[in-house]
């Protein structure tokens, strides 16, 4: 059975008050816009950690068909998790006793992270992710 743990960093760009986060990981050769769940596997988010200096809302969004995105169109995204960070500076850790789970039922499912802020600034959402074919 295959199981990969990885830390994914989603960050704002510091210049815009909303947008789609670039996703970084030590396993990624280049930052990603979204992560497609491999066919037959599950993507689980076990923990979230937010840091930053400005009021930021992060959303984790899901689509069950990423195909339009490959031809320059927008897939249909649904929000599956919202984290609002209201401190002027600091961090918030959220450990999930039951993970957020996305199934790779067709190999076209994907997640992305978006942000919105009242004032543009740097903030990051760190995700502890497991990609596995185990139940």
């Amino acid at each position: 059975m295959a199981r990969q743990l990885l830390t994914i960093i989603a960050s704002t760009d510091g210049q815009n008050t909303s947008g789609q986060c670039k996703l970084y990981s030590s396993l990624f050769a280049v930052p990603a816009d979204f992560i497609v769940v491999p066919l037959g596997m599950k993507l689980r988010i076990w923990q979230k950690r937010m840091t930053g200096a400005v009021d930021t809302e992060f959303k984790i969004e899901y689509t069950n068909d990423i195909t339009p995105q490959f031809s320059g169109q927008e897939a249909t995204w649904t929000t599956i998790s919202v984290d609002k960070y209201l401190s002027s500076q600091g961090e918030v850790n959220i450990g999930l006793s039951k993970p957020i789970e996305v199934f790779g039922r067709t190999g076209r499912e994907a997640i992305r992270v978006t942000w919105s802020q009242s004032t543009a600034g740097f903030a990051t959402l760190e995700l502890e992710v497991e990609i596995t074919d185990e139940d």
Binding site: M1, A2, R3, Q4, L6, L23, S25, S26, L27, F28, A29, V30, A32, D33, F34, I35, V36, V37, P38, L39, M41, I66, F70, G107, A110, I131, T132, D133
Partner: protein, 254 residues
Amino acid sequence: MSVIDEFGLVKPNKLLVVIVPVSEVALVFRVKYRKVFRLEYPGLPIKKGETLALYGGGEIIVPADGVMPAMSFTFRSRTFPYPGAFDETDMFYIPKEWSDTIFHVHHHIKPAWIRVEIQIPPDNLQIAFQRDKISGGVDMPFGFKRGHIEVVHLPDVKIGFRFGNDTSVTVLTGDLMIIGEYNVELVLDPEVVFDAIVGKAPAYVYTYPTYKTGEYVLSKIKEVYGFEGFPIYPEYKKSEAINKYKEIISKIKR
């Protein structure tokens, strides 16, 4: 007591049965002694500038050594190069004269979602559904493994690997190899051969995933060991099997 250790390698003085299913033959080896290596292979054998196929159609150029672009797969088989090896393009290839040597390798591929299949010989599809009607492999929804694959390398048998990355992420790859280099002797006692093949004697059984090219493996086995292996009999045909094995063993030139 298990015949394999915590790494999945056969312990010294234990038996290894290698089955070629499409030809319904087996070889039985005793591991006399072994060397165990843990090798962190720095990136899958994918070179900067080469072209990989894409799952959605089309092609993509590899941006750096060992990097697997998003939604890409290797169309052709790969081997693992290693400087100074007998064949520097394939670190697990050994010549037929090295008949007392076998490699038993566990590949732990990173990231673990990478699809992997083996082809014997390279560039020969092995997996098919409904006889040969629908081929499988890393470019199909079935016929591959993810993250881990186990391979037994016999002398002079060429084995190729294909890989696939069906995520939207361009990834840095790697392969933690747990390698057993076994010094073996071929077991030629008919009773032991039969018991090992039918599972009555403790032995580790490796089945070659050759469902189409059994003839290739058989021809190599004959060149290396002087016979085409032992036919596989069911447990209730022991006397028939023993007689056949005696006949085969008597004809082997040693």
